[in-house]
Symmetry: C2
Subunit: 359 residues, 2 copies
């Protein structure tokens, strides 16, 4: 089991750190903390390195750079986890779709617009094409202190499919929702391809040294209930079941952003260790409804952006409520690019100073 | 009371139609139906008229045109309600902010970016500036058949404030959320101004002949719980309380899009007659949780766009579940511009043919 054999910077075997303890439901003195998009544009050292590199995907596929970027926030702040620097769309790239990232705009892909486009997708070559990602993971595990958990991740099939069909970000992802209704068999094929590719991608990350994996379903929240069950819950359950079979001790965290309606159903359908809550989740109600699972979240990144005493009060409120059960402090969405690194430092120090409430 | 005195096209006094009955919780043989954005770009007669007019706001402020556009779908389809053709941003216009609508892009406003910008807002002159809207309402009430309910509407303060601060539509409305955190006193002032203006605007519509009003809180779903309570629920409760005091018999429908977490709390806090559900609401759970209130919704506009037998099956599913209590058939979001009017006709005919399930 990964978490019992991990080897730290100093080469010594070490017990697992606080993040893995929280995911196993073990009581802790204080909440583990990491932040979605903790590596990235808000850090001057990231911007300096980014300016030297080629495309954003080049960064993701250059182990030396991706490793360095992953480590930057871990060096600056006392975080309990590092999350692999990569992107959810590397799986689309592995399926042969051209992916680019336009500064200030987000991802752009050649859109899949028909059943024929889906049928023409390249044979999946995840392990081959994404080998540099797994090399990054292996390097990271060697570099990281033993108590710092290494988190691998992937986009959930619906979210990756939504970008692949739409060709870019969207408020409502109407093109993807339209194709899913117009050509459900082809869309099922796309989701199936992505489910398999995502499983391979996460398995390879775990084999390379990831101790936890998180599935980002960033656009789960735009779907009506029957489609959420078909395109989000069912593929997620398949991925998690396959991972649990191969790696029973590796915890999986799901982040079905905007789909809090379905938390209970998701938790019942899949052996998740953690559920990452978005900013809108009413935390007292969710904690009461899901006392058993490790909840992660859910500070508003806007509160981190504005900082000050309000930020610390918000953090206290969240720790006081979610900390009544297994809990990992995080944001409810990624760090915003305009965030002041000093606000992040203040947040981390404050969360580390707060005792957890009695369970 | 409006609904008992209304005078139809033929000048005869008539009992209230099915929409008002549903909002009072009275049992019906079949579900009343209307559709959000039932007037608009998907109708060729709208596009023809739009091409002749000046700006979008000119349309809203020309009673003859706004009246004609409102009536277009009512003439085409057997709908149980007409909703005033207008825009939620007329209230921003009444507060002195320049508003324009760019084809294929949406609204643009000069953004409010600071407490100073908010302090400089023009004195509210809702009744004066929006007089043509009330004239449209009065004309409509004279033109409409007695059984066709006339729905007035406004944007809820948070949603209008979000556009005023952002200056345009957005996925996350970060600028508005940031200003609300950075300058809460100024933001409170903005929400207060909008709450008052919205109340005046809805009262004037009711006085002119609107028999129902709907509050569109289209961006309620981006807020964390404490901010939802402060910026959405509390102002909505103030507006509804003020309307109920003046017009106890006029039903109010709330549409807190994406904020289903808080339905129960909203219903408990405000004397709403109806709650409009967005596409993501799990209807069986919501119907069971809120047996008493009239629920409206929640067909996916994408299902209407794709049409065919699946559309009719979806409509049946919704009627079968939501129709177990007081219910109005509608979409979960507005009609999409690419929608085929024939699909709308097929949907309306099908919903009118479906018997409601036993309560």
């Amino acid at each position: 089991m990964q978490e019992q054999q991990k080897v730290g910077m100093n080469g010594a075997t070490s017990p697992s750190g606080p993040l893995l303890c929280a995911l196993r439901g073990e009581p802790l003195e204080r909440a583990p903390i990491w932040l979605m998009r903790q590596a990235g544009r808000y850090l001057p050292e990231y911007r300096a390195l980014r300016a030297q590199a080629g495309s954003f995907l080049d960064l993701c596929y250059t182990p030396e750079l991706a490793c360095e970027i992953t480590l930057q926030p871990v060096r600056r702040f006392e975080l309990d986890a590092a999350i692999l620097f990569s992107d959810i769309l590397v799986v689309a790239d592995a399926l042969g779709r051209r992916v680019s990232f336009v500064e200030g705009f987000g991802p752009r892909l050649e859109p899949l617009r028909s059943a024929a486009d889906i049928a023409r997708l390249a044979p999946t070559a995840v392990r081959e094409r994404l080998a540099p990602v797994y090399e990054t993971v292996a390097r990271l595990r060697r570099e990281l202190p033993a108590a710092t958990a290494l988190i691998g991740f992937a986009g959930a099939p619906w979210t990756v499919a939504a970008y692949m069909v739409e060709g870019e970000g969207s408020k409502e992802f109407y093109a993807a929702r339209r194709l899913a209704r117009r050509a459900p068999a082809a869309f099922e094929q796309l989701i199936g391809r992505l489910t398999d590719a995502t499983t391979v991608h996460l398995r390879a990350q775990i084999e390379a040294g990831a101790e936890v994996v998180q599935l980002f379903d960033s656009w789960a929240g735009v779907l009506p209930e029957p489609e959420f069950l078909r395109w989000c819950l069912e593929p997620t359950a398949r991925i998690v079941a396959s991972l649990k079979e191969a790696f029973p001790a590796v915890p999986v965290i799901a982040f079905p952003r905007g789909a809090g309606w379905h938390y209970r159903r998701l938790v019942d359908a899949t052996p998740l260790a953690g559920l990452s809550l978005d900013t809108t989740a009413p935390i007292a109600a969710v904690r009461a409804a899901l006392p058993e699972i490790c909840l992660q979240g859910n500070l508003d990144p806007v509160a981190l952006l504005t900082g000050g005493p309000e930020l610390l009060r918000e953090a206290e409120r969240i720790v006081g409520v979610l900390g009544r059960g297994p809990f990992i402090f995080n944001l409810g969405h990624g760090v915003l690019p305009e965030t002041d690194p000093d606000a992040v430092a203040a947040l981390v120090a404050h969360v580390r100073s707060l005792p957890l409430p009695a369970r």
